[in-house]
Symmetry: C2
Subunit: 362 residues, 2 copies
DNA sequence: CTAGCATGCTAAAACGATTTAGTCCGCCCC
DNA sequence: GGGGCGGACTAAATCGTTTTAGCATGCTAG
């Protein structure tokens, strides 16, 4: 039908109208494909080929516009230079941020990646894992994705749930995060601090809470159980909806007031719940930061746009993705048998306008 | 070295420890690879093979855990079932939203995609285009990416700049957007409306502005040039930084006040500039929406979290991505010679708390 | 009795590279 | 004069499929 369909080549015919193959370059030069391949790949075996010939080959390749076919090369070399990325949902801020870092690193190193969003459904996760494997990805990066069994491929997890043999976890330094946030508040004179704990099934909840307990002890702060609310979330998967996080923060902000217990600051589990709580507080006549200081976690984009803008612990998502990708590539290269079980990333505190010293009469 | 390296197979040897190949299944059954392939692919040519044999083949494949090698298949069939996506920066909200829709559609149809972020640098764009082509993607989706020349592959653009032969553009219905926003304001009694125009080099600026002019005429609204500010942005590439958009909105909000011209509403070019402007207005003693109503564009996540929450024209990013992907797949399938030059997507108005009737004395 | 035709398969050639194991030629040197 | 060697290449196998073009075999019909 179409002109491109009209190629009845067999052996090494001219093959016009289609992409130039190695064979075409070879024929053009009156050389064998082997020679051309050797030269183009700067193979060590090409040392026997005189420089003039090498130049001729490269000139011809350039002239004809030869581009090696990656698929054929992959088949032969058993390398695809591609990795798979599994995440709950690509358009969600956390994953998108991490993915940005992953991409930077991978493209820089000549790799591409295939992404699949499993929407926190275990069977979708399994399906995509299967599909990625069939596509011969060389390794996996799991973002915010729980895994149960060991994987057949080298893998790195970002915000992974549990420890799995052979999977390196990229995690935020929760101790540092807690010290930063609580230190900031304590420095300004806050003693009665309320907390939102994360959802029970979220990866970071437990370690973050332990870090908070430890940091509080260090700073001589007491944790009042009445001021400690555990975000409930809904069924799995819903935890990633910002709207819901916001609503929850709103509800829990109100709950905090209803306890009647006094507090001058709130350290929320994440920015969206912090934002919801800020709204609840102001709606109830409290001013942020004059009456209550609020610290979030993540530094999502809207944190800076709040009124007041939100002081928060920033997770360097891009950096986390970058490190995850770098570590995976290290695992893929021959050298790395000795892969660490965890890579710790340091958070930073972004001080904005939602925190201030407590009023002297508070 | 490693046990996996120890496969000196030639012909059809057992091949233990490695992935099961078609050949292995065939050998296991005492049949030829041809037969197994025909059966596994439910090829029409398999009608000559009796059902019992077919069952035997499928049973053996299942038992041995046979998974076809996608690379080999791609090479032979000259199909990769992969498309390339080019965008400025993956972690940015607009692109991430669109990408979510692209993914949904592609994975549903058995495709994967390779993404590359060119950071608005033309040479990076060209490089990645080249790399994607080498990887034999079957088509391209361009998100917010200017193209100059025609492309060698079937392509669909989302928020594409100009019209290129053969490239279908997925665009928002700007007329509808203008009618929704201005109608909403006019209905509530606003007559003096200020505007932020987009950056000169942004794709949507011109068509959106024309739509605004048309809708204003229809509604009997006059456009005051003093109240029409063109966002300047910086060099190419910077237009995508939300921080800058915000800062610009902030500056321009103040400028608007300095003109001395009276206005009761502002229709911003996007949400971030609307948010910046809201901040500037409140800082100058004006209340939103009591003194000035503000309408944004995009409905980014933080729009809902503002105080007051932002009324805005929502671009259904997910839907736009989905449609783009669907159209590309249609182009790829034999049927579609008749591809439209544009696909128009309908925006919706999300009414929140940044708009209200003007004060009667305004 | 045999041409013809299903039926149930298979051999072998692609796809476009990489890589192992040579080949051929000329020259040197004893 | 011939063994050895280095230089410049190349033939052919291979990666794991798909697909075209047949090949036996047995039955039926004329």
């Amino acid at each position: 039908m179409s002109p491109a369909r009209r190629n009845r080549t067999s052996g090494g015919e001219p093959n016009s109208g289609k992409a130039v193959r190695l064979k075409d370059v070879a024929a053009h030069l009156g050389l064998s494909p082997t020679t051309v391949s050797l030269v183009m790949n700067r193979s060590p075996a090409a040392k026997g080929i005189p420089p003039e010939t090498q130049d001729r080959v490269r000139a011809a390749a350039a002239e004809l516009g030869y581009r090696p076919n990656f698929i054929a090369r992959s088949l032969r070399r058993q390398r695809t230079f591609a990795v798979g990325v599994l995440l709950p949902e690509i358009s969600e801020g956390y994953a998108a941020g991490v993915l940005g870092g992953i991409e930077d690193q991978l493209l820089r190193e000549g790799y591409f990646y295939l992404v699949a969003g499993h929407h926190s459904k275990p069977d979708l996760f399994d399906d995509y894992l299967q599909l990625l494997t069939e596509r011969s990805v060389e390794g996996l990066i799991l973002v915010n994705s729980p895994i149960e069994q060991a994987l057949a491929l080298p893998a790195v997890a970002v915000a992974g749930h549990r420890e799995i043999a052979g999977v390196t976890n990229v995690v935020i330094n929760h101790e540092m995060a807690a010290r930063l946030a609580l230190g900031h508040l304590a420095e300004r004179g806050h003693r009665r601090i309320a907390f939102f704990k994360g959802h029970a099934h979220s990866a970071d909840t437990e370690s973050r809470w332990q870090a908070i307990v430890a940091a509080s002890a260090d700073l001589g702060l007491e944790i009042d159980p009445r001021l400690t609310l555990q975000l409930s979330g809904d069924a799995a998967g819903k935890e990633f909806s910002p709207e819901e996080g916001y609503r929850e923060g709103h509800v829990f902000g109100r709950k905090l007031l209803e306890t009647g217990a006094r507090f001058t600051a709130l350290f929320a589990f994440n920015d969206v719940s912090a934002i919801g709580a800020m709204r609840a507080l102001t709606e109830n006549g409290l001013r942020v930061p004059d009456d209550v200081s609020v610290v979030g976690f993540d530094d999502i984009l809207s944190a800076a746009f709040q009124n007041p803008s939100l002081t928060t612990v920033r997770q360097p998502l891009h950096e986390m993705g970058r490190r995850a990708a770098a570590e995976l590539l290290r695992k893929l290269s021959a050298s790395g048998e000795d892969s660490p079980a965890a890579i710790t990333i340091e958070p930073t505190l972004v001080v904005r306008n939602s925190t201030a010293p407590p009023r002297s009469d508070a």
